[in-house]
Amino acid sequence: MKVMVMVTGTPKDEETAVPTTEMFEAMAAYNERLIKAGIMLDGAGLKPSSKAARVVFEGGKTSVVDGPFTEAKEIIGGYWIWQVDSLEEAVEWAKQCPTDPEGRYGALEIRPYAETEDFGDEYTPELREKEAQLAEELRTQRGEAGSASV
């Protein structure tokens, strides 16, 4: 399963909490572990909300709110995309994330991707397995590389 892990903090810490070299190093080491565990698919840091904008839809009206989002409870500062076996596995990895040395609030929100496989109740395993086999054979016909074609 794929999960998106959102790194969140509070708006008041957004501009003031400047990461130290140690924190950068700790984060780099953590990223390295994620890569070596083979679970990392993507990840990026985001600029503070002072550089951001929000498009809000409410009551049939559309408005644009410029950052910083001082009213927000939590601000997303970055994200990862991991491939893991279970939500529990993602949680265990998230718990290993380096924390703010001064104990400032931070949270990692782990959201599994909605997979198309989730729609699969209407077809039985037998059907799927048979058709997947057929698909594999047809792949060859369509000039696609794959196990069956080499």
């Binding site: 794929k2 890569i35 070596k36 565990a37 083979g38 679970i39 990392m40 698919l41 993507d42 995309i81 491939q83 893991v84 076996d85 279970s86 939500l87 529990e88 596995e89 949680v91 265990e92 990895w93 997979e115 198309t116 496989e117 729609f119 699969g120 209407e122 077809y123 039985t124 395993p125 059907l127 799927r128 397995e129 048979k130 058709e131 997947a132 086999q133 057929l134 698909a135 594999e136 054979e137 047809l138 792949r139 060859t140 016909q141 369509r142 000039g143 696609e144 590389a145 794959g146 196990s147 069956a148 074609s149 080499v150």
Partner: protein
């Protein structure tokens, strides 16, 4: 959170490191794995009640070392080793730093690689390599491996213990292959990883979701290998190939369970995250500027499909050229058949026919319904509809499923109508 799944997740993260560290202690990877399993069993008993320890790695290592002492105490013949281990173990069972036992971070990468190489060692059978890799490197239980391979747990259990015995009897050292050995040994590792992937991806039997887990496992192993062997292009190529194929998981089966061919797949259902990661890996493989290997070539072909927004936009010239390179590297009539399809789409029907003629006598092609189906496509492009109809009828007779037989008969009738 499910506590058992949590324990399993922690175990998966720590198990390979633990096996490596214990191998350094007892100097026998099979025994080390047994000891690690005992530590895991202890964790499964204790953690659900007492909670996950602050430092699970250290906890597991301490238990593993104690078990090592127990085992060696029982085996008087190994008394000399007992002395060695007893020296390392703190009396009363103080916590031992597993990092100190396993060495530096850099060293750890080499140790993990040594573990992969020993699990895929040439003295072992192919199926043993697969089972041992899942067990020692990926940290899967015997039951999980048995489920993935659709065989009884006892079979996998025996396979693993036999493999460990073989390694011990052959006195296979726990070390990295030499530079001379590396290409062949790495090829064996990649073969195991791709075998696991195909076992999951092709899903010739068993519930699809279990099989897909196996494909996920193979991709994870592949990505780990890219971190440990960043300068080996085929490692990146294999990861790209697996991820590109897996990116189409959701799109290749229709809502009624029917197979959906590449031309008809809803490309919005392709997994763009996997594709992005895969294309990066493919670039890395190419940028290492070595002759392209078979996995990288296949990934490049799959990459052409992934980059095309629609089937019509497919770069068939590039695909035909890549198949030609693949054909030179690993000649096979099936590769030639694929090349013919690419040539046909690149609007070289004459050239495609030439390729098909060259493999017409191959006994596999003579029994292969898709050969006739492709040949009929080519003949129709050349306006030779009567011959195409004949090919399609022959192909229908060879088709393995009723579904395909019907499709081919319909196409035969349509071709005959155009004569």
């Amino acid at each position: 959170m499910d506590i058992i799944r949590t324990v399993e997740a922690v175990w998966r993260r720590e198990s390979a490191h633990l096996v490596v560290a214990l191998t350094r202690v007892v100097n026998d990877v099979g025994l080390a794995e047994d000891l690690a399993q005992e530590a895991f069993a202890a964790a499964l008993r204790q953690w659900p009640e007492e909670g996950i320890p602050e430092n699970p790695a250290a906890w597991l290592m301490t238990v593993g070392r104690r078990r090592a002492v127990d085992v060696i105490r029982r085996e008087q013949a190994r008394a000399d080793r007992y002395v060695q281990i007893a020296r390392g173990a703190v009396p009363g069972g103080g916590v031992i730093d597993p990092l100190a036992a396993a060495g530096t971070e850099e060293h750890q990468g080499d140790d993990m690689l040594a573990l992969v190489f020993i699990a895929c060692h040439p003295v072992l059978s192919r199926e043993s390599r697969a089972a041992l890799t899942l067990r020692m490197v990926a940290g899967l239980s015997t039951e999980e491996i048995a489920r993935a391979f659709l065989v009884p747990s006892a079979t996998i259990g025996q396979r693993i213990s036999r493999a460990k015995r073989t390694l011990a009897e052959a006195r296979v050292p726990f070390e990295l292959p030499t530079d001379d050995e590396l290409p062949a040994r790495l090829a064996a590792v990649l073969e195991v990883v791709y075998l696991l992937f195909n076992e999951g991806y092709s899903a010739t039997s068993g519930p699809t979701w279990v099989r897909r887990d196996l494909a996920d496992e193979a991709m994870r192993l592949g990505r780990q290998l890219t971190a440990w062997l960043p300068k080996e292009p085929e490692v990146h190529g294999l990861v790209a190939l697996m991820e590109l194929q897996a990116s189409r998981f959701a799109a290749r089966v229709g809502p009624n369970g029917e197979a959906v061919m590449l031309a008809d797949q809803d490309r919005s259902r392709w997994d763009r995250i996997l594709i992005t990661h895969a294309l990066n890996e493919l670039n890395r493989a190419i940028q290492l500027r070595r002759p392209l290997g078979s996995y990288t070539l296949q990934a490049a072909i799959a990459g052409c499909h992934a980059r095309a927004r629609t089937f019509a936009e497919t770069d068939w010239e590039a695909i035909a050229a890549l198949y030609e390179a693949l054909s030179q590297l690993t000649p096979s009539p099936v590769v030639e058949l694929n090349r013919a399809v690419a040539l046909l789409h690149a609007d070289g029907a004459e050239a495609a026919l030439g390729v098909l003629d060259a493999i017409a006598e191959d006994h596999r092609m003579q029994r292969y319904h898709l050969y006739g189906a492709v040949r009929a496509d080519v003949l129709q492009r050349l306006g030779r509809h009567a011959e195409a109809a004949e090919e399609l009828e022959r192909a229908a007779d060879l088709a393995p499923t009723q579904h395909e037989r019907t499709l081919l008969m319909q196409r035969a009738a349509a071709a005959a109508d155009r004569v």
